[in-house]
Amino acid sequence: MNALLVRDLRLAFRAGGGFGLGLAFFLIVVTLVPFAVGPQADLLARIAAGILWLGALLACLLSLDRILALDWEDGSLDLLATSPLPLEAALAVKALAHWLTTGLPLVLAAPVLGVLLNLPGPGYVWTCLSLVIGTPALSVIGAFGAALTVGLRRGGLLLSLIVLPLYVPTLIFGAEAARRGADGLDPTTPLLMLGGITAGVVALMPFASAAVLRVNLR
């Protein structure tokens, strides 16, 4: 499992791995928002937490197909499937690698981009905390979507169509926690719910992902 994790991380960091693309996308989304809604500071402050969450979610979505697509093309996915490591574990590790290369950088970038959006003071901690708790769920759910569409030629759009509705609960609780934090309210309840969702999907989703991947590798 460690070897697989190290391998996935290396592949992502090396040239052509696309590491940083998600970050750049996050930056662009956040830059475009003021152009779309206007530069009024109070308006931006009100929506900043939500925009950061939405941007992180979209950046995450954009990089999902890389979880499995390359390994599918060069056949290493078949090797993984026949290896002694259970496919469930392999997919959990791959989701973890995706989170480390996409989710975690997004969390680290969020406060910087928060400045651009005039995020209110208390919002920084809560936005980052809710992203730390919530983005693993995005990666794990995304790995399910990637496994579902891995064999398809026009998988990209379909992947978004399938994965985005699955992101709804995570987004609701994550953005709610960040928003309450930014407004100076108590964000504990949505944070706990978000933690519950993440814990639940991390525990259960790899089984669903492995099930669909086995069908696709048949």
């Binding site: 399910f144 998988g155 699955l166 709804v168 609780f173 719910m193 669903a208 669909v212 069908v215 048949r218």
Partner: protein, 243 residues
């Protein structure tokens, strides 16, 4: 004689051809009776005026939109456990019916909401979860369309249906948390003291029965079509191999 005999496509088709006329007739009668009774022979609501009459379309379609997904869930489970092709095809056949019901519910709701709430759309928990349900239907149908191999498609869509069900329920409660609603609470529950008044209740029940029969008829009919499409394809493949 067991229920599972009808997993055999031939037996299924024979049975469905025998019962389909009754389902069509029952659904037509119930819907016509329910709607005519509801539209012309019930009083106007003292607050909502005649707009109340849209419930005879809105409530049954909303009910069937959810039940269609539930039926797909059951059919998907049967496919995953017992590998009956008819079951997978029934789930496939139910999806477009369900999505249409969802659309009817959303549309009639908007038409009613405009004069009553003063808005076509509000981010109310029920409205929002229906919109999300609509998205789930779209994803499910798109996945069926995208995969060529029928067994792979059936497997993948079935698992998506299971996972989607969990997330649909999660979303339903998440949106409750996220926004307070405009939509009125349940008023047809069997275990409640105050339900919708009997004058509206009885024609509504008839209309609901009509929609249930309509749903069964449509799903049976569409499943039959799917079976025949599958059979035609098999025949054509065999022809091509011989030639």
């Amino acid at each position: 004689m067991s229920f599972w005999e009808y997993a055999n496509p031939v037996k299924f088709l024979t049975l469905s051809e025998r019962v389909l006329p009754f389902f069509w007739a029952l659904s037509a009668i119930c819907i016509v009776v329910g709607l005519v009774w509801g539209f012309f022979f019930t009083p106007d609501d003292f607050r909502q005026g005649s707009t109340v009459k849209i419930i005879y379309l809105h409530v049954p379609s909303a009910l069937m939109a959810i039940n269609a997904w539930f039926m797909m869930l059951v059919a998907s489970l049967i496919w995953l456990v017992r590998r009956h092709h008819v079951s997978a095809l029934a789930a496939k056949a139910a999806a477009p019916v369900g999505v249409t019901m969802t659309l009817i519910a959303l549309f009639t709701g908007a038409v009613w909401g405009q004069p009553m709430w003063g808005t076509w759309w509000a981010w109310d928990p029920r409205l929002t979860s229906f919109l999300i349900l609509f998205l789930f239907y779209l994803g499910y149908m798109a996945l069926w369309e995208a995969i060529e191999d029928p067994d792979t498609a059936a497997d993948l869509t079935s698992i998506l249906c299971l996972v989607g069900s969990v997330f649909a329920v999660l979303s339903r409660y998440a949106v409750n948390f996220w926004n307070q609603g405009l939509h009125q609470g349940a008023s047809l529950s069997l275990d409640k003291e105050t339900n919708v008044a009997d004058v509206f209740y009885h024609p509504l029940l008839v209309a609901i029965a009509g929609f249930v029969f309509l749903f069964f008829a449509l799903v049976l009919y569409r499943t039959g079509t799917e079976i025949r499409i599958r059979r035609t394809r098999a025949l054509m493949a065999r022809e091509a191999r011989i030639a």
